[in-house]
């Protein structure tokens, strides 16, 4: 079980590196949109999203559920886990939304400003802080 938990954490770290850097690439991509930069950023975004972020995200979820499977009914009574589920669900939606933006950039159809991506860029940090506190501190009691 500890091995599985260890690999869950390893994939979380890898996943978040993508979730952090993709919106950062979108900021630069919006700021520098000449032809050479545009080509370069398209390649960087595509590789980061499809080769790193998405596989790491899928493996994080798989290993996370694997950890839960050891004591599923027990975990389900912990209130922190319910909150964590809600946050992870939002994070997955965020992940897929990043994929949509990667696709828009690939077709040269970016619809957003640099300011929008700055705001988007702040979100994964917020998710990380809340999720890690929930998982480590385990606040709240048992649901009776």
């Amino acid at each position: 079980m500890l091995w599985i938990k260890a690999f869950h954490i390893i994939f979380v770290v890898t996943w978040f590196s993508g979730l952090f850097y993709l919106p950062r690439l979108f900021i630069y991509h919006t700021q520098w949109n000449d032809a050479v930069s545009n080509q370069q950023f398209k390649i960087m975004e595509k590789k980061l999203y499809y080769y790193i972020t998405t596989p790491a995200g899928i493996l994080t979820l798989l290993f996370g559920f694997w950890v839960l499977s050891y004591n599923f009914s027990g975990y389900l009574q912990e209130s922190w886990l319910h909150m964590k589920f809600a946050m992870v669900l939002l994070l997955v939606i965020y992940h897929m939304y990043l994929g949509k933006i990667v696709g828009d950039f690939q077709m040269d159809q970016n619809r957003h400003s640099k300011g929008f991506y700055y705001a988007l860029h702040g979100l994964p940090t917020l998710f990380l802080v809340i999720i890690v506190i929930l998982a480590v501190v385990k606040p709240g009691g048992v649901i009776s």
């Binding site: 260890a6 890898t14 590196s17 050479v36």
Partner: protein, 143 residues
């Protein structure tokens, strides 16, 4: 309870730190392959932002929170090998961190000496560190 909060912030900081440790060598790969001088200047800016604004503070906080977590072990003459092994790996990771800073400076001075292939290999190192460190902490093996 307080220790759990410190542990949480240790984990948050290290995740941010590793985000940079993973992506900075990746930026070097693209930078080394790029011949357009304007884009090279942009890579320098991207690398500097990532290194000085994200990785430096994140490494600092990881270290501080980690030190507070490890302190009770030190004063109690803790003999678990896993912690010492982990600290050796962390020392290597710090050296890797500063080595990335040296490479960044060489890029900024137009004096990069390495190929994209070299940076690709360099890019694999933090993954090895991450796996080894997390396994040591989680399993706390006895040797």
């Amino acid at each position: 309870m307080l220790m759990l909060w410190i542990k949480a912030f240790h984990v948050i900081s290290l995740t941010i730190w590793f985000g940079g440790l993973f992506y900075l060598p990746r930026l070097f790969v693209y930078h080394a392959m790029q011949s357009d001088s304007r884009l090279q200047q942009r890579f320098i800016l991207m690398e500097k932002n990532l290194y000085y604004r994200i990785m430096h503070p994140a490494a600092f906080f990881t270290f501080i929170f980690g030190f507070i977590l490890a302190y009770p072990y030190f004063i109690s003459h803790f003999s678990g090998t896993w912690l010492y092994l982990k600290l050796i790996l962390v020392a290597c990771l710090m050296m890797y961190h500063f080595y990335l800073g040296l490479l960044l400076q060489r890029f900024a001075d137009q004096q990069n000496r390495h190929s994209a292939v070299f940076f690709r290999w360099l890019n694999e190192l933090p993954t090895v560190f991450l796996i080894a460190i997390v396994l040591l902490v989680m399993l706390k093996p006895i040797f």
